[in-house]
Amino acid sequence: MESTVLKVEDFSAYFGDNQILKNINLDTSSNLVTALMGPSGCGKTTLIRCVNRMHELIPGTKVTGKMYLKNDDIYAMQPIVLRRKIGMVFQKPNPFPMMSIYDNVIAGYKLNGIRLKKDEFDNIVERSLKGSALWEEVKDSLYRKGTFLSGGQQQRLCIARALAMNPEILLLDEPTSALDPKSTSAIEELIVELKKTVTMLLVTHNIAQAARVSDFTAFIYLGELIEFGPTEKMFTVPKDKRTEEYLTGKFG
């Protein structure tokens, strides 16, 4: 059963007087990966940050239009409530350096003061680390600091941390841009595996990555949504000339 998880309606974003996003309309369905691709500075990261309202950390931002997370108006919610429902993975792996692997996974509970029994936490940790394909590598060192892990492992730890909160959608902001090719392919395999259970919105500047892992692709250029559709279709028969030029490497 597919249903709409995130609905974006006539959405625009501004930094000061600068319009970053122009009238974006987008639907993402459950258990699918939607890739946002486009050249640097096109607004794809801004769009993903508007979904969990992280853009509000920067003063002088303004948005118009609507976004709905499963029929709830995102901009009518409290940001802290909203962000607990949305997982986010960043460009650079950012585990909490003073916490163990175990504590990193349940950081969303610990930092928010949500108390559960020890065995419930144990279950969440195991489930989340298995979900991010890290369990086998770290099950004997759960109480070591997360920063001892390699870059790719740290990124999977960050994915586990997001999964632990049972997010309704997982935002991936160029999750492999700081990783080596081997870790990158591990993360890509993980994304394909994860979509059985989670809906994902993936920002990437890597065309091949979008082709490899996504079901739907949105091509954003200069703040405009140029084309949006099934990845296969877009990569074989792009409707817009700009999409074709981007895909064939004429710019971007």
Partner: protein, 281 residues
């Protein structure tokens, strides 16, 4: 041509020797201080000296127990008073790098750091001693806490500014409120730097005499009451050294030895904390 090279080599060598010599020379004052204090002070250090109270003029023997306890109380008191304000102000400055208030606060911190300690003593006198009509441990603690403030604020600000921004993002993206992000993520990660700052500020105030002269005042008896005058190591050294009695002079050396060891210990612990608890990203 060959001569030139030889002359240059000699100049090069001479320069190196001079630099090393002058660098070593700058250590000389500290070594001499340690030497004199140890030579003159170590003889009187024994269990009695550390655990007995000063005796009245005419009696021999006695110790500096009340001064050791007094210094300890002053350190605890001034830490309790200054750490909350210092860390809070440091957080504010690190979070707000620009803005009118932040810049004013930053300027005040610099000026406060350069304010002569005797002036701070006078302020504490006016604030605490005058209203209570009595010299007191509390007023000494207030004076010393004002001296600790700029060091703690600067240390906190500098440490927290080094925290990577993505750490804060990670926490906020989990739906953690801003204040919890600061208190539970940013502060613990910067703990070693903040603790180092606190220990260095303690090391700095442990030997302060001037602000205590008309606040804590000094007391040859044991006192646990915060509202009564209290003894301290620097004051005891001052008092003994100014006296005409040879035995008290050796006591002054002994007390100096203890004080220097204390300050040295705080500095070494601060270094240890900075190295050992350093957080890796």
């Amino acid at each position: 041509m060959k001569d030139h090279t030889a002359v240059r080599m000699i100049k090069d060598k001479a320069f190196r020797v001079i630099v090393i010599l002058l660098a070593c020379f700058s250590m000389l004052p500290l070594l001499l201080i340690l030497y004199y204090i140890t030579r003159n002070g170590i003889a009187v250090i024994n269990w009695e000296f550390l655990t007995q109270l000063p005796r009245p003029i005419g009696e021999t023997g006695g110790g500096i127990f009340n001064a050791v306890i007094g210094t300890g109380m002053l350190i605890v008191l001034s830490s309790i008073l200054s750490i909350p304000f210092g860390i809070t102000a440091g957080i504010y400055l690190s979070e707000k790098s620009e803005g009118k208030i932040a810049n004013i606060v930053r300027l005040c911190v610099v000026v406060l750091q350069g304010t002569p300690s005797i002036v701070i003593g006078i302020v504490a006198y006016i604030w605490v001693v005058a209203p209570f009509h009595s010299f007191s441990a509390l007023s000494g603690g207030v004076a010393l806490s004002i001296m600790m403030l700029p060091v703690i604020i600067k240390a906190t600000e500098e440490t927290l500014k080094l925290m990577p921004y993505h750490l804060k993002e990670a926490s906020l993206a989990l739906g953690v409120p801003y204040y919890k992000t600061i208190l539970k993520v940013i502060l613990p990660t910067g703990l070693s730097g903040i603790l180092t700052g606190i220990l260095l500020s303690v090391a700095r105030i442990t030997g302060e005499t001037a602000p205590l002269l008309f606040t804590a005042f000094g007391n040859q008896f044991m006192n646990w009451n915060l509202f009564k005058p209290i003894d301290s190591l620097p004051y005891r050294i001052f008092y003994y050294a100014m006296s005409p009695y040879p035995e008290w002079h050796t006591f002054a050396w002994g007390a100096s030895f203890i004080l220097v060891v204390l300050v040295l210990a705080f500095n070494l612990i601060a270094r240890g904390v900075a190295v050992k608890w350093k957080v890796q990203f």
